[in-house]
Subunit: 244 residues, 2 copies
DNA sequence: CGCTAGTTTGAAAAAACTCAATTGGCGTGG
DNA sequence: CCACGCCAATTGAGTTTTTTCAAACTAGCG
């Protein structure tokens, strides 16, 4: 198998799961010219205000997007796992309105916009699949607004855990113990909470027998009850094959 | 001028401003078959879980999207003004993951998905313009996450006022006094605050000489300082013609 | 004129934050 | 192999912000 084929394979699997499209439907994907870049932990990958000409496909590791505030706080806008394209929106909005950074050491494929445009022109099914991906990303952002705006600290933390579990499960990465390299401080920056509050909330969830989070791994002991606490409805992830 | 042409005219102007595309580029827009529906104040237009087959174009009035929480709270996810399409994402995600409702009496054009798909197939520039619209919508949602998650009550309220002003200005609706039919309770549900807090915050902003909000109208007396308080950077609205 | 929705204010309670200090795990250099 | 240093997790205590509850007030409308 060609190198590029193996690198875009995770993207194929992702789009296949999300849209039901077959190898034939997604024809051309393996021809995308990708350049691989490796990052260490906590490295900034692109910055608010940058004008970019490529998209990033996560091959390995966890990645996040964030915005800063004037007084030095940080809001994480989303987490990305292998198979995700954290900045697909730059395809049509090339100026970054937020920053992207690695959480863990990460391996990313950089795909030139021009190559994606070309391919989309020749393959409308792919164009549609990518558009759909950006719409799911938007749906997740909206749900975070609800989460941060109206849920209690307990519900917020439970919610992000449910989301990460569900998304990891969808790419086959949710075998227990589930890899969870996100620090409590990062959970706080994502859910609009302080580290202290995240810590106490995790303790409460642990003491309630719902979860174990330690050594960068997590176990969900009672998903149903966790989802209950989180007021979690997976609809917003649009993973259901019935909806296409 | 044909009825449909006049109804989609606001959409044309909107896409023209956003993308720079001309009448010729957006050819076919005026042929979209639209059905006009009128709503009173505070009417639900579509509901979380619904499966829809058309998009809504706001012709007149203010519209919002929202999600409820189990304990009866509500989070508003975005506001829409004339020229906006609040549910463009249903084009590829037909199951509503939130609800849409009118704020004021509103006149909406309902456009069948199939008609939009057809047109997009024949006119790739239009497809691209609509994709871009959904990406801006997503960018706004991300910025709301930051706003609700990390800004103080004062900054949040100032921020939403800056956003609404900027977006209304972009469609020529920001002549002072600026129409502002959104209630304090709705501002609260949008910014993750209680009515009481919104009220006190507006009072503070008024006493600081920044704004006047009354009788469903608002005046911004010192936009620069309001943006300062809001930590507002209009980049996320992607209105700059330089970026395309 | 009375009703209703929306705004305004006061006061007490709750949630979450900040500050500060301690603990634990892990990698690295001696 | 151990000690050191660093980052992350943990805990206590006091403070701040925001919420909740309750009650008035106001403006538009039939």
């Amino acid at each position: 198998m060609l190198k590029t084929a193996s690198d875009t394979d995770i993207l194929f699997r992702r789009l296949h799961r999300s849209t039901g499209l077959s190898v034939a439907d997604l024809e051309g994907l393996e021809t995308l010219p990708v350049r691989i870049r490796e990052f260490g932990r906590n490295e900034t990958i692109s910055r608010e205000g940058d004008r970019v000409a490529h998209c990033l496909l996560v091959l390995d590791g966890f990645v996040m997007r964030f915005q800063d505030t004037r007084d030095g706080k940080r809001q994480i806008l989303s987490f990305y796992v292998p198979g995700d394209i954290p900045d697909l929106q730059t395809l049509h909005l090339p100026t970054m309105d937020h920053s992207v950074a690695s959480i863990t050491p990460a391996r990313l494929a950089m795909i030139p916009h021009a190559a994606i445009w070309d391919l989309c022109e020749r393959n409308p099914l792919l164009a549609r699949a990518l558009w759909r991906e950006t719409l799911i990303d938007a749906s997740i952002a909206r749900t975070w607004v609800r989460c941060v705006g109206r849920l209690s600290a307990h519900a917020r933390v439970a919610h992000i855990l449910c989301e990460l579990y569900t998304r990891l499960d969808a790419v086959g990465l949710a075998e227990e113990p589930i890899p969870m390299p996100i620090t409590q401080s990062e959970f706080g920056d994502a859910m609009g909470l302080s580290v202290v509050q995240v810590n106490r909330t995790l303790r409460d969830l642990r003491e309630a027998g719902l979860i174990t989070v330690q050594k960068r791994q997590m176990r969900l002991h009672d998903l149903a009850r966790l989802q209950q606490v989180a007021d979690f409805n997976p609809l917003y992830l649009h993973l259901d094959p019935a909806e296409r």
